[in-house]
Amino acid sequence: MSMIINMLGPLVFWLLEKWMTNQEKKKEFQESYFAFLDAVEKSGSTKVANHIAAKKSLKAEQLRILKEKEELKKQQGGE
């Protein structure tokens, strides 16, 4: 019996060590993943900023084309 315990002692120790390493790895991984999820959540505000910028740029482009055409008309009228 004592021989079995002597043989199994190192195995138990090795398994315990492995289990602890795994737990550390898991904790580390989960921390990095939650940081990743936070970054994903922030993408909502980036989306809004991009959307507002796109809408503004559309208006600016529409006005620019209208002005350009008006200028062209004036130039053609002046000639």
Binding site: Y33, S43, H51, A54, I65
Partner: protein
């Protein structure tokens, strides 16, 4: 014998913890969720339409979205310019889980989203294993954006009425073709330069796919107020690789 049993139980609980590939917060991953979307028009729901990763749905009163995650999911998020929702542990709520997919409803009529017409991002997460997948749905409203375009995106050719979605690897050349000459509205970070023409106005546009999500407007030279095409460009950096151990 008892000792051996205890050891066996201990060993079986010690399977090693495998992490997924390292995630990069800055990385833009391909949108690749399979979604089935049904629209509510008045009192009736339409059939389900398939969207692979990204796509456009016409304006409706509400949408039912079936999401087919690539693995098990323990969180689903929906983000638009107005809404940020997440499922409360879907695997524990039987009404959320139906064989192989999760289904949820997104109201649209008379919402801030209907006023703004920005895209919906669908996220599927498996927090324990760190797996994730995304989808992108744009809503088209012909009363606002109605200039048709033929899109040549990531090897496919598709015609869209007024709103389109193009998803491709960032840095690759994509194309849009119109029946008339158009220009593109410039947005910082989403600049589109026409590499097929030096002209400011062109009916054919070839451009290098920008990084991440870009909402871009093509504007008609002949009718800049009345004819506009809304394009959602999504330039991904990586395809998510799944199933690694």
């Amino acid at each position: 014998m008892r000792l051996i049993c205890v050891l066996f139980l201990f060993i079986s609980s010690c399977t090693s913890y495998e992490t997924s590939p390292v995630m990069d917060e800055e990385m833009k991953y391909e949108r690749d969720i399979t979604m089935h979307v049904s629209m509510l028009n008045g009192n009736s729901w339409t059939q389900y339409y398939l969207i692979n990763g990204s796509g456009v749905m016409p304006k409706a009163d509400a949408y039912k979205i079936k999401v087919y995650p690539p693995g098990k999911a323990d969180m689903i998020t929906v983000t638009s310019c107005h809404v940020n929702k997440r499922t409360p542990n879907p695997e524990k709520k039987s009404k959320w889980f139906k064989k192989g997919y999760y289904e949820f409803e997104v109201p649209f009529k008379n919402t801030v989203d209907a006023e703004n017409l920005c895209s919906f991002d669908i996220g599927v997460f498996e927090k324990d294993k760190g797996r994730h997948a995304w989808g992108l749905i744009a809503i088209s409203d012909a009363s606002r954006y109605n200039m048709p375009a033929t899109m040549k995106c990531n090897g496919t050719r598709k015609r869209y009425n007024g709103t389109s979605v193009c998803q491709a690897k960032e840095g690759l050349i994509q194309g849009y073709e119109f029946k008339e000459k158009v220009s593109v509205a410039k947005v910082v970070g989403c600049e589109i330069a026409n590499i097929s023409s030096d002209q400011k106005y062109s009916a054919t546009w070839r451009f290098v796919m920008p990084r991440g999500e870009c909402e871009v407007f093509f504007v008609s030279y002949d009718d800049p107020i009345g004819k506009v095409h809304q394009a959602f460009l999504y330039g991904y950096g990586k395809m998510p690789i799944r199933g690694l151990k």
